[in-house]
């Protein structure tokens, strides 16, 4: 079984959010970058578990990004991926990223393509589905469980009011959410092995330029909080009703 994991690099969850170049770009100055948590904890770890359970196959990661993403990519290798690909381009839009990944992955015969639920900076949750479309694969968004049985997979996903259990034909693409797997911390042996595992850099193919972020802004600052004395807590309900008009 050949598995492809889409791995992105994002600013740390607690990083300061600021913009430069006339508010057109994220200001990464002094910010620590990490592997996107959903790609790491859920997609990558589940891919490794499936490979281990089967005792054969391979896990490849693919990242669209500049040379500055290589430390993050090496971490993926340290956690256990067999090899990694970096497509040399600055991500600007979901369709661009998806087209680059699809043009690398087509004809490679991947049985599974696993993305994270969303990137924690861009928050689109759409790149995986676009790759699925370009590779003509079925796709499940926000999967919480994945098992493979022969040429099909059992996938669970949360739906309003419950859990849906799906039977999907392979090859399959999905985005992985909570429940899929648990975080794995790379060990010393993994870190050593990662140094010599293949990380290939491929040039970017041409892509569609269909949408772009032209400006960022910070949300308007919250007004100050209106405090209500605990003894008169009931007033909160009155205010939510008559002042805020939300209940």
């Amino acid at each position: 079984m050949k598995i492809l994991v889409l791995l992105s690099q994002v600013p740390d969850t607690t990083a300061r959010i600021a913009f430069t170049n006339g508010d057109t770009q994220y200001d990464g100055n002094g910010v620590t970058f990490i592997m996107n948590p959903y790609d790491e904890w859920y997609a990558l770890v589940r891919a490794l578990e499936l490979k281990e359970a089967k005792g054969s196959g391979s896990v490849t990661t693919v990242t669209v990004g500049g040379a500055d993403t290589e430390a993050t990519i090496r971490k993926g290798l340290a956690i256990g991926a067999d090899d990694a690909v970096r497509i040399d381009a600055q991500p600007t839009d979901a369709l661009q990223v998806a087209e680059l990944i699809a043009s690398y992955a087509k004809d490679k015969g991947f049985d599974l393509v696993l993305a994270g639920k969303e990137t924690i900076d861009h928050n689109g949750g759409v790149v995986g589905a676009m790759v699925a479309e370009l590779l003509d694969m079925p796709y499940v968004a926000l999967a919480s469980k994945l098992d493979v049985n022969g040429d099909s997979a059992t996938v669970e996903r949360d739906v309003p009011g419950g859990v849906e259990v799906l039977e999907v034909q392979l090859p399959l693409a999905l985005s992985a959410a909570k429940g899929m797997a648990e975080q794995r911390i790379p060990n010393m042996r993994g870190i050593m092995a990662a140094r010599t595992k293949p990380l290939s850099v491929v040039a970017a193919a041409s892509t569609t330029n269909a949408a772009s972020t032209v400006k960022f802004e910070l949300p308007p600052a919250k007004g100050t909080v209106k405090m209500i004395p605990a003894e008169e807590a009931g007033k909160l309900i009155e205010l939510l009703h008559s002042e805020a008009k939300v209940i």
């Binding site: 369709l95 589905a129 968004a141 926000l142 419950g162 259990v165 799906l166 972020t213």
Partner: protein, 312 residues
């Protein structure tokens, strides 16, 4: 400049988010639009009130099979000459909108938070800590609208309903089973959410939280540690790793307001926080606050909610 809208109408009633998407599409078009849906839903005529003139429904599609649904949307878009396609940014929309965009080489606004200003749509990025202005330059646009972003238009009018008879190819996804978890209003649909955290000390103390939610006609939610300790079911967990919600009113009881929790709730219209620690970060994100012990405050809130219900 024709516009169509794709919505998921399965389930017991028409989701609010579907009505919002139809409203958005008809406002973008400046006239009633064609809506596309699937499954067995009845009463689709009612979407006329939100701005649909026609609803095309693919009865044969049962599961969220994104390949069949993408073909459905693209076929209708071609037949109607649509240049704008609106979807809901929920689990179904997130499988269909990006596929349609990739197939048509169309720019996608993933999670628009309202109507555009000029040709710019806004969307939340960095877990709600910033907003991006997106411009679509391709001839066809796909707009996936975040739930609870715009007011529903409710006029008169009823839509005609037509069955889709074209070929959508074989299904590659089948639903084997649906396990129900909980009843009541699904969290992402709830306009009022009463949420509690580790400050509640244990699962045995949740009765007043549920009672308050029920009195206000809302749903209950919780912080991540509460779900991790199995005090509450996992589908109630809100935040960055759980469900992201944007109700009109979010009441947080005994939750510290960690950044990862806020990421899932900071788009709520009004936030009320009850916490006994004046330094709790949640107060900084709140509109209303009560500094006090949840076990003393909750009975007062319940009493006031009962009084309010008796008056209306």
């Amino acid at each position: 400049m024709s516009t169509i809208v794709f919505i998921d109408t399965r389930g017991e009633r028409l989701p609010k988010s579907a009505q919002e998407a139809v409203t958005c599409a008809s406002q973008l078009a400046g006239e009633p639009v064609t809506a596309v849906t699937f499954g067995e839903a009845q009463g689709l005529e009612a979407l006329g009130a939100n701005g649909a003139k026609k609803v095309i429904v693919a009865r044969s599609v049962k599961a969220v099979d994104s390949q069949q649904l993408t073909k459905l949307v693209c076929d209708v878009a071609a037949a109607e000459g649509a240049t704008t396609i609106v979807c809901v940014h929920d689990a179904t929309g997130k499988t269909v909108a990006p596929r349609v965009a990739a197939r048509l080489k169309a720019g996608l606004v993933a999670g628009a938070t309202g109507m555009p200003e000029g040709n710019r749509f806004k969307r939340n990025v960095f877990s709600g800590k910033a907003r991006a202005h997106v411009e679509v330059t391709s001839p066809v646009k796909v707009i996936s609208l975040s739930p609870n972003s715009i007011a529903i238009a409710a006029g008169g009018g009823s839509a005609t309903v037509e069955e889709f008879t074209g070929d959508l190819g074989a299904a590659r996804i089948a639903v084997k089973e649906v396990r129900k978890a909980g009843t009541g209003i699904p969290l992402p649909e709830a306009e009022i959410v009463v949420s509690a955290g580790r400050g509640m000390k244990g699962p045995e103390h949740w009765a007043p939280v549920e009672e308050l939610a029920q009195l206000l006609g809302g749903a209950t939610a919780c912080s991540r540690p509460v779900a991790d300790m199995h005090w509450r079911p996992h589908h109630e967990h809100v935040g960055q790793t759980g469900v992201a919600i944007r109700p009109n009113c979010y009441i947080a009881i005994g939750i510290s307001g960690a950044i990862q929790h806020l990421a899932g709730v900071n788009q709520s219209k009004v936030i009320a926080v009850i916490n006994k620690d004046p330094e709790a970060p949640f107060f900084k994100a709140a509109d209303y606050g009560i500094l006090g012990d949840a076990f003393e405050v909750l009975p007062k809130l319940i009493e006031a909610a009962k009084k309010l219900n008796a008056e209306r």
